[in-house]
Symmetry: C2
């Protein structure tokens, strides 16, 4: 194992190659592929200090660049050039490539595209933290898998239960409350929980270059959407503050929700059942359902984004597809074809034939994380 400095974390207990897909309610498609796979190379064990160093670097470029550069954390090169060329093409007035503002729809995957996703999807860390937090109300969990495994940091014990165990974890943590209650739980967690290796708040592990890209697109009349395999209600409570993306522009996986009157007060209750899985071939469907028109630009990082990239870039006129390739084991993580989290294999091959821009994180990004607490 090349990874993780925190042996106490569940992540540290997982051996190479372990992979499970979490097809449970709410999280829906959260692949439970934890740390220590071969994909994590040369990770800095001093994660937190490294991140702090990144942060310093991230803050600096804005001052060093010409004021006119809207993408100061992007190094000069083909990726940056391609982004700017696309935006200039669709915004150029009286041009054949011009796209009306209403049609300037850009969709972004979240995990691995807007923020990190190692050593496990952050929403899974949330689910595990919720099991721990709820344990006092569930004494039976002490001897009941998969909860016992979570509470004892025995992930092999959890995983022995297979997908069903993971569904149980998600149902126990993501369903059974009102939507308002769940939003409050997520908000509390996201404001306090820290990454076990980096020591950062999860919202400090968003990608500074992508924040600049979001701003740049919006400044050019684009409407930016998240289209994620993660839970839609896990992202909405903080996406506006962190990404500038309002709840109505977040698309994700969902569990069943029902309307009830409780003592004359209407509530929406989250039920333990899958409603929609917004991953792979589900992404174009989710885009269509929520947005109702084809985006002209799509940004992803894994094979889970393949169909979204295909659907977006197959439209008429100027189109833009971009893949964030995690090549930076020093500042973030390096992984692609063999990774159990954020596997990038088929989409990487197709990028060449379809003309998608592949960002080399180590080469193209001057900084990875922002310096300010967001």
């Amino acid at each position: 194992m090349a990874a993780t400095g925190d042996a106490r974390s569940l992540a540290g207990l997982v051996g190479p190659g372990i992979r499970r897909r979490l097809l449970g309610a709410g999280v829906a498609v959260v692949a439970l592929a934890l740390a220590g796979t071969g994909c994590v190379q040369r990770e800095d064990p001093a994660g937190a200090s490294q991140a702090a160093s990144n942060s310093g670097a991230a803050g600096a470029p804005a001052a060093n660049q010409a004021p006119a550069d809207p993408l100061p954390s992007w190094n000069a090169g083909a990726s940056k050039d391609a982004i700017v060329a696309f935006v200039e093409a669709v915004t150029a007035e009286n041009s054949a490539s011009h796209v009306p503002p209403a049609e300037r729809i850009a969709v972004f995957d979240n995990d691995g595209t807007l923020w990190s996703e190692q050593p496990m999807y952050f929403q899974l860390a949330f689910a595990l933290d919720r099991v721990r937090a709820l344990a006092p109300q569930h004494p039976e969990w002490a001897t009941q898998q998969p909860f016992q495994g979570v509470l004892e940091n025995d992930l092999p014990g959890v995983l022995a239960g297979g997908e069903q165990a993971l569904v149980q974890l998600v149902m126990a943590t993501h369903a059974g409350m009102t939507t308002d209650e769940f939003a409050a739980i997520v908000t509390d967690w996201i404001e306090t929980a820290r990454h076990p290796q980096r020591g950062l708040l999860y919202t400090e592990m968003v990608f500074q270059p992508m924040l600049e890209l979001l701003d740049y697109l919006r400044a050019n009349g684009f409407k930016t959407f998240i289209v994620s395999g993660g839970g839609i209600e896990f992202m909405r409570p903080w996406a506006e503050r962190v990404y500038g993306i309002p709840p109505e522009q977040v698309v994700g996986s969902s569990i069943k929700t029902s309307f009830e009157m409780r003592d004359g007060v209407p509530v929406l209750v989250r039920a333990p059942g899958i409603d929609f899985i917004d991953d792979k071939a589900g992404k174009p469907v989710g885009i269509h359902q929520h947005i109702g028109r084809r985006p002209i630009a799509a940004f992803g990082n894994s094979d889970g984004d393949l169909q979204m990239l295909q659907w977006t870039t197959a439209g008429d006129g100027e189109r833009f597809g971009l893949i964030v390739h995690h090549t930076d084991a020093e500042r973030e993580w390096a992984y692609d074809r063999e990774s159990s989290i954020g596997r990038l294999d088929e989409a990487l091959d197709e990028a060449a034939t379809r003309g998608w821009t592949v960002v080399d994180m180590a080469r193209d990004w001057r900084a990875v994380y922002p310096d300010a607490v967001r």
Copy 2:
């Protein structure tokens, strides 16, 4: 029967009180409640000329009003006052009632709230027209119910098949094509089909006062959404042109959609299965799924909007609920508690206890329809 000048229309064939719910794919909740119920009172048989007269009236007020009036087609009175007071309250800076622009979400039912819905939901007229248009490709329909009944204008024959027959009609007309193909079909229809009694394009039967209300809210920082029991893909192709509401702000009932690669070209295919029914208790669920935060204003006209109004107005702070009461048999239609289309009964009672504004169409609206071809 008091209604309809066009005896050839299917609508004219329906006796009083006939009602069926159409729980089919795509249309989902389109109640097949056709003309001639007791609710249609004193309807002008010269529908088209009456509508033209309405149109003339609709065009005039703007010039007769003070330029500052954003709602020229609304007569002075309690309804107009309530709307203006609400908007001024939430937009007043440094006020306890102030609502940030991002939270100024307003949701509008479509059928009966933004446009007419008699003698049948316009989407059902679309379905019947599609059966007629597709008949040459389906010679078997000549002797196969429910299609035979549609083709022979024998609606009792259609209705003899019950809900299953109506589901068949919708599946045959709303599924089995790509999303792009369906959008083109809807666009062609909406640009040419005319109301059997009024002779107007359906998009000429939108309510001028509601168009002004949409504009007024948007001018005050509101984001306006449609939340309709009708098919989401039936509304999106024209909602932006007619209402100024873009596709991503349309919420409605939907059928299953799947992603496919056809000869290397990605398509989304409409399948014959219900995905979501955006009516009654489904409306708050649809709002939550698409918008992700509770609206502060909701506008409806029937019991199908009850839960949307409850959910919206039960939130904290300033809230606004409004019901369009169809009281105008001269210029539009008059119906409420006994109507099989757009029944307004429970919600009308609850309006009094919850403080919702009830618009008396005959009294409150200076004009009903706009004068310009939209």
